[in-house]
């Protein structure tokens, strides 16, 4: 059971404003822990706030040296209902990026930090430029990989 206890390593994320992307995108830099290759990697979006009558996906991408976006995955955010326009807050949204981040870092010299781009998109992955949204924090959590019996 001890093995199953999750030992989260919470890494601080630094928010960068602006950049080459839209004002409605959010950029974060997260540090890579030394043992990242032996771990499960989770992006945790904390305190996402958005209107309750809008359904969207929050797409997470990593930016490579040329500022090219490489998708790491997306989390789906259902609306509550057509008349629920008041902002609602989602405490934690977790996205497992173990494979996608490993692929992103393949054949790269491991950087100290990875720049992440968070962007709300519609069902066809078109950016939702008009959406009023905010997020309290984005961080990278690592967990021990499960041992296959």
């Amino acid at each position: 059971m001890v093995r199953l206890v999750l030992l989260f390593l919470l890494l601080n994320a630094t928010v960068f404003a602006g950049g080459q992307t839209s004002d409605h995108d959010r950029r974060f830099a997260v540090s890579l822990p030394q043992q990242w290759q032996q771990s499960k990697l989770l992006i945790v979006v904390e305190g996402l706030q958005a209107p309750g009558n809008v359904a969207f996906k929050l797409r997470v991408s990593a930016l490579d040296d040329d500022a090219k976006e490489v998708s790491l995955g997306a989390v789906g955010v259902e609306a509550i209902g057509p008349n629920k326009s008041a902002p609602r807050t989602l405490k934690n949204l977790r996205l497992d990026v173990t494979r996608s981040l490993n692929r992103f870092l393949e054949n790269k010299s491991t950087p100290a930090k990875i720049e992440l781009l968070i962007r709300p998109v519609d069902s066809r992955n078109n950016p939702l430029e008009d959406l009023e949204w905010s997020v309290k924090d984005v961080r990278l959590e690592i967990q021990p990989k499960p041992v296959t019996p």
Binding site: L6, V77, N83, A86, D130
Partner: protein
């Protein structure tokens, strides 16, 4: 019923009033006013009747894409009948709109602590919801063997909406929904339902990670579950919002696959266990059943979908049986005195009668002393001779197995030194027991050890008894 109606109307009125206020902020993104939510409040003042044990045949839920023509017809007939109730008897709780309103109510009208998303309520409540929905559909077409199909979007070739739900893609199809943002030729993106997503979910080490906690959601609730909702509903479709998602019949096929994920996660590893916290197990919800009876069901009652809810995912060799077992009756032995197993004439009669009528018989060994030097699987035989031969399942004297799994070699001394074992007694193993001339010395032998090096160990246990259940004919 008049009370029910007035409460529903009241909530409908509330919903209508606030929707106009909410229209201004995000034109183009907001859900349409035509998608008014009509959430369903609890229907009556009288308390619900407890859920009854399900006696249906265990049958598989199957991928929607593999249904035969006649099965698709049956599925459409069922939803057609359910939709027809919306107009023929709007107060019938089995009607499609009122079924959809249950989801609406539990997702947006109840208090924050009761909402069935964002916590460990997600998997359990939706399993119960689909279960009663499935039974109602079956009742409406007079076929309680009806099982919901699932949309296996995790299969790369099944990323489009299942054809039954889009063909024809108009109002003549009871599985169609006019508000979908996803067209029949669109495919769910790999990013939302591909191997990365599925592996991540199914490899979750704990239920907290997979299914959430009392206050937090698990990984698959967001992706793939939430992503598929958004992909199908688009910006403004029913599937994109909690209040309206149940109005799209594909919701139930989607959630059946989400339910299958839970089932697959449980099967994936012996460590993939559900919470045992009473706060989890005792969660209780109410639903109308297929006979319009208001029922309560607990989370504990939906954990084993095969035994309790009578459906599986994939084929089952047990599917031809109808094992509606009556109560288990204990048949004692004199083990405590003799430390051997002896069948009295009364026990023989009882066991023989049960097995002869497709009933079930189990042998219970309590407080069995086990070797603690390693993790191993031990076979239990009716005699030292049979253990020495170790012919395995179906062989002479074979009764069952007793696995011993140590947490770690270093910790084995702190292990419990005894185990309880329960073995199903088949007609064949009962023959073995019946043939014994005298008291039987039950014997353990480690599985996989070559003949000549086997070391049979006589079973020492605190007690041995049988339980017998006849089957309802």
């Amino acid at each position: 019923m008049s009370n029910t109606t007035s409460r529903r109307n009241f909530l409908q009125t509330i919903g209508m009033g606030t929707s106009f206020i909410g229209l201004s902020a995000f034109t183009g993104l907001v859900l349409p006013t035509s998608a008014f939510a009509q959430c369903e409040p609890p229907p009556s003042k009288t308390g619900p009747a407890p859920w009854r044990r399900d006696c249906r045949t265990i049958l598989p839920r199957r991928p929607a894409s593999t249904l035969s023509g006649s099965e698709i017809t049956k599925l459409k007939d069922a939803y057609h009948a359910m939709r027809a109730l919306d107009t023929s008897d709007p107060n019938d709780p089995r009607g499609f709109q009122r079924q959809a309103n249950i989801h609406c109510f539990m997702c947006s009208q109840v208090s924050a602590s009761e909402v069935v998303h964002g916590s460990w309520k997600f998997f359990t409540w939706h399993r119960a919801y689909l279960y009663f929905h499935e039974r109602i559909l079956g009742k409406l077409i007079g076929d309680m063997n009806f099982r919901l199909p699932y949309w296996d979007w995790d299969v790369a070739s099944h990323r489009r909406l299942p054809s039954a739900y889009t063909s024809p893609n108009d109002a003549t199809n009871p599985l169609w929904n006019s508000t979908r943002g996803m067209s029949p030729t669109d495919e769910l993106p790999d990013e939302d339902v591909g191997d990365d997503v599925m592996n991540a979910a199914l490899e979750a080490a704990t239920f907290a990670e997979f299914g959430g906690t009392s206050t937090d959601n698990g990984i698959p609730e967001v992706t793939p579950h939430g992503s598929v909702h958004v992909d199908v509903g688009g910006c403004c479709g029913d599937m994109s919002a909690f209040e309206t998602a149940g109005r799209d019949p594909v919701f139930y096929a989607h959630h059946s696959n989400v339910d299958k994920m839970w089932s697959d996660w449980n099967k994936g590893s012996s460590t993939h266990t559900n919470p045992t916290d009473p706060a989890f197990l005792n969660m209780t919800w109410n639903f109308y059943d297929e006979n319009k009876v208001w029922r309560s069901i607990t989370a504990a009652q939906v954990l084993n979908h095969e035994n309790q809810l009578r459906y599986i995912y994939g084929p089952s060799r047990f599917s031809e049986l109808l094992p509606c077992l009556l109560d288990w009756v204990v048949v004692r032995t004199d083990w405590r005195l003799s430390k051997t197993l002896k069948l009295s004439p009364a026990a023989r009669t009882s066991i023989s009668k049960a097995l002869g009528s497709r009933g079930r018989v189990r042998l219970h060994l309590t407080g069995v002393s086990i070797p603690l030097d390693k993790s191993a699987v031990y076979r239990i035989y009716a005699s030292p001779e049979a253990a020495g031969k170790d012919e395995g399942p179906g062989g002479d004297g074979y009764l069952g197995t007793l696995p011993v799994v140590l947490d770690s070699l270093k910790k084995h001394l702190s292990h419990k030194r005894t185990r309880n074992a329960v073995m199903n007694i088949s007609s064949r193993s009962f023959e073995t027991l019946s043939r014994a001339q005298g008291p039987m010395q039950l014997t353990l032998v480690e599985r996989g050890v070559k003949e000549g090096t086997r070391k049979p160990i006589r079973v020492t246990a605190a007690d041995a008894h049988f339980t017998v259940a006849d089957i309802e004919q």
